[in-house]
Amino acid sequence: MAREVLDTVVAAETPEGIVLELRPAGLSARFYAFLLDWLIRLMIAYAAGIAAAFMGGLGVGFWLLFYFLLEWFYPVVFELSRSGATPGKSIVGIKVIMDNGLPITPAASFTRNLLRVADFLPLLFGAGIVSMLLRQDSKRLGDLAAATIVVHQPQRPPKVRLDNVAPVTPVVPLGPNDQAAIVALAARAPTLTGERLDELAALAAAVSGDGGRAGPNVTRRVLGVAQWAMGKRA
């Protein structure tokens, strides 16, 4: 399926022959996730430190061990959980998967998190940031070596509700993308103000034979075409 260039969607084909569309998470989403994880780790380390303070030498050993695990394995443990995301990533709504769409493997998670060191070079994640900005799939070096990708978690699309709109047969032939665009407009309709909806519907008015006009009635007819596209017939 050929795609227009402005989108960053990465296609991954499964053994069942369907194409999964992966939406790579960019620098800003990942930065916020990193920041949240950093804060969470800081709080855990602090809490563990307080607990360890009551345990003497054993406590110091325990704390150092715990801190080591927190430093290197906090992301690994969470990435291998069912959600595939650290708490920070979860909050931002992104997760880590293999770049062929499969869930991340332990070896890959281990690799990408160890190579964080390389991404940090020369300072403050310089290499990682440059790599993420240059690549369309926003991979840092660790992702490249581990063949992983950080993607946006798919969101549930809004249900189209057009119960009281009568279907309208389009006056021009509509390709799949045109149909999809009009149905998408219908799906957004409840979230738009009346004026904005009229404005947007006017752009598509040609499909219902109302080219050049605008207003609530035109909007109704355009939504009627959406109703038609979804299979409703008068």
């Binding site: 999964l20 332990p106 160890l114 290499a127 699309p157």
Partner: protein, 325 residues
Amino acid sequence: MTPLAFEALYQAEWQELEEHLDRLLNRTSKRSKEPLRGERVAALYRRACEHLALARARSYPAYLLDRLDRLTADAHQVIYQQRELGAAALWRIVARDFPRAVRANSTYVWLATVLFAAPLLIVGVLVYYQPNLILSVVDASTAAEFEQMYSRSGEAIGRVPDAGDNWAMFGFYIRNNIGISFQCFASGLAAGLGSIFYLMFNGAYAGGIAGYLTERGLGETFWSFVATHSAFELTAIVLSGAAGLKLGHSLLAPGRRTRRQSLVHAARECVVLVYGVTAMLVVAAAVEAFWSSAIWLPNAVKYGVAAVCWSVVFAYFAVQGRHAA
């Protein structure tokens, strides 16, 4: 068939799959008494894949495609989830994969050994004959601290007074040593330069300290302290450096692969080495904290055990896993 008819026809199957997935992904608080049937999930998943392909081919509306997209993507994640780190897999790494990986990458291992051992020997001998050269390796206060650590005055060898007990040191060695070795590996991504630097730096550092302490007459305490755990620790550092060199080399000379494929391939092999190295360093830290530091053990016993440990490590890499299936 119209999209709405299509939806009405298969709605029930999609909902069933969605309910299963909700349970599998812990997205629902509803407790169901029915047992989860894996083969049913797989069958529903394949059906959903067919439906998605049909819906795409027939250009059904976006909301339908989106729903099927989401459904198949979630099911795909659940069905192909890999659990490769079970006890059996860990045992396979120890018994077979790790020593095999070391032998398979022997060129890198020898190169890393030279990069580590040469500065160690050269700086060691130089500092032994010219003790004030130690100041070009560490600063004066660090040198003094090391001297204090290995004088026989404390209750344990190898640590400054009041540094804490064995457990505290165990934690410290784990954090410090495994951190160093991870760094040695990961920085190899910079065309191998990072690994070369860390190998040489750590070699020179260890050599400098060894030469200095021997010259100061603390050789007996120092060598008896380091002899045992170094079997695991130095080998592990060298191996992580070797893994880093491999990573760098895969980028510099990808051969018939693209650079990215070559890197992914090398990283997949290296990760076995890093697993093994991590395990070795945990052993090293335990030995260092609980055995090497014991002041009441006669040196003869320590050297004897050290000889056994070194032999075991070499034998392990030389023969382990050669004939295993």
